[in-house]
Symmetry: none
Subunit: 213 residues, 4 copies
């Protein structure tokens, strides 16, 4: 199964109260504004400390308006999450497309950067995932999907790796990718760029061992 397909067949994350799809253009714009505001505020303060009132205010909307589209704080977070996951998946799909032909060090770097990029696009993402306020089932789903995408990437380089080993490697690589994102987010780290390069190096060394030179 190609990862494109995987991402194409992805289903809405939550079974919970869904935002009613806005029928008019005006509505769609509003939703976008609200999501953007939510992204910023969640990123700034984390899920718990973020308030629906502030999000609405930042979007230039009334609190009532916000609730019209997102019946729950968690629903807003879910929507945000889904949106971000789409970006992430697209990123990984792009990497997968090149995976077979790219030199290994470049692949390593690309993987390391995957989450770094999307994460700086929206720093609140992780805060949400780790806040403990998101339905664990949703989180599990997300993680599984990402692992599968990473596995698909690795498989391009090592088509005959047994499924179990592939899965384990994918989990490890994904974890490493998260590490890179976390490191990128740590502004207090002196020599951050060098350390990030080191992480890429680490990934490269591993891929060499695992996938064969």
């Amino acid at each position: 199964m190609s990862s494109q397909k995987a991402s194409a067949t992805r289903k809405p994350l939550a079974a919970a109260p869904e935002a009613k799809a806005p029928s008019r253009r005006r509505g769609r714009e509003r939703v976008a504004t609200l999501l953007a505001a939510g992204a910023v505020v969640f990123a700034d303060k984390g899920f718990d400390a973020a308030t629906m009132t502030e999000i609405a205010a930042r979007a230039g909307a009334s609190i009532g308006s916000l609730y019209q589209f997102f019946p729950t704080k968690a629903a807003l977070a879910d929507a945000l999450l889904e949106q971000h996951m789409n970006v992430v998946h697209a990123h990984l799909d792009a990497i997968a497309a090149q995976a077979a032909t790219q030199p290994l060090p470049e692949l390593a770097r690309a993987l390391c950067n995957a989450l770094v990029a999307t994460r700086s696009a929206n720093p609140g993402f992780v805060a949400l995932l780790d806040s403990g306020n998101i339905d664990p089932a949703v989180i599990a789903t997300i993680r599984k999907a990402m692992r599968q995408q990473v596995a698909a990437i690795l498989q391009r380089r090592a088509p005959h790796l047994p499924a179990a080993e592939l899965a384990a490697a994918a989990a490890a690589v994904l974890q490493m990718m998260k590490s890179a994102a976390a490191m990128q987010a740590d502004v207090t780290l002196p020599g951050r760029e060098a350390a990030l390069a080191e992480l890429a190096q680490m990934l490269h060394a591993y891929l060499q061992v695992r996938l064969g030179g």
Copy 2:
């Protein structure tokens, strides 16, 4: 400077609201109970969702008693953090003691396990660090101390590595150690043990490259 010394000169983390030290035996026991309860509740729900009331209740104490020793929710978290850091630092010191003589794969495994172990001893640890409710300066201090300890460990294997490279490597290794702990905490991950082994492998491959065979 030996890492033992480093840990000997470690200073209290918190700047502002310290836990008032109990002077009676009763008080000291209380503080221990309260810390334990806090650890559990923070681990369960994260910093924000944890309530002082629940912590007190779980400790079998009244809310007033809790506040007698920890003037603030954050102060309690700080105390917990400090306590945990002591464990972590001791762990790392122990690793450092063996670092020079140990076979490399074992060192890799030991590093991977360092945070895994302390973290399962108290799963709330990370939640606190990442919650955004802890004084960023405290967090920076903690991270720096850990990086230095890891650097000291690496230095035993590669005494002549330039300081800058050493620092970058330490940051990368530390990040990896955290990855292992995170992975360990993810109960939804199928084949977790295999994946953890893969992480150790990754670290090993990296150390080989970095520190020389």
Copy 3:
């Protein structure tokens, strides 16, 4: 400068936490009710002993409603203060208008009664001013404004009094006016009316000396 003008250019008292202005009619009514309730409760118990819960209850509102418009107990007090000051200033303006032509004993009586009247309209006023919970800068501002108004009144009778003497006299007269109000509030004082008359007498004697017959 006429005292009317002075009162026209008066600015809002509070520096920091303003009452959020209601935009709907319902809200405006609420605010009025809440202010009234606050006035009563502050008067009854003083600032510290008054509770927001009681104020809300007395207004027939929920606690949340109260906080919607007054983000802080102090903000409510400030609003109340400002409202009362407006009444006081209007009173003093009225006195100023007649000051030039009125017989001196009548002026003395009017001054004595100025605060008595407004104060019985809202007995909590002084409690607030003296509670030590109001921003001292606000208090200083209030006092200064009152002194200036009293000075303006005196100036109508003695246009050529040097500014410094005028200011000192105004401060003394204002203090006397407060005395009258305090006396009025003391229900345990036997012969209160006679004593109040005595105070007016005292003021009259003073004005005669100061302003000339």
Copy 4:
């Protein structure tokens, strides 16, 4: 009845829980320290905001020790009040002793200064009286006693004044004395000294009218 006698027969102010008189020297010292600490803290923060814990701490005593001598926050305040009243009464007695022979302007000044002096010796005094936390009966008693002392002073100058007029005049003069004290406490008042002189002038003018030149 001489005012000395009046002050000699004064009874304890409160019927409420009394502090047990300490039998040993050590105890008496402690009580003195506690009272002093209470005076300072009440003065600083007012009755409500003052905490028993802080008072004990400032006295270098434990909270338990404080409660050994003053079973209640109000009891402490009462004790303080009584102590201060003794000073005030002594002051007034001294004034009474000279009242008959002194030139009128000097008497006026002495009266104005009476409360000013004692009040700056302990600025918390008024805060207590006006805080609404002291038993109103106690307050009434205090006021009555002071009025009687002032009346006694006035009587020395005008022995034949009818009792009712004397009482009214005493009430007015007392109020004026409080005004002077309040004015003295107002650090924001520019030209405070001049204003105080004005107050003395006012009192003088009144006494001339009332008591005859």
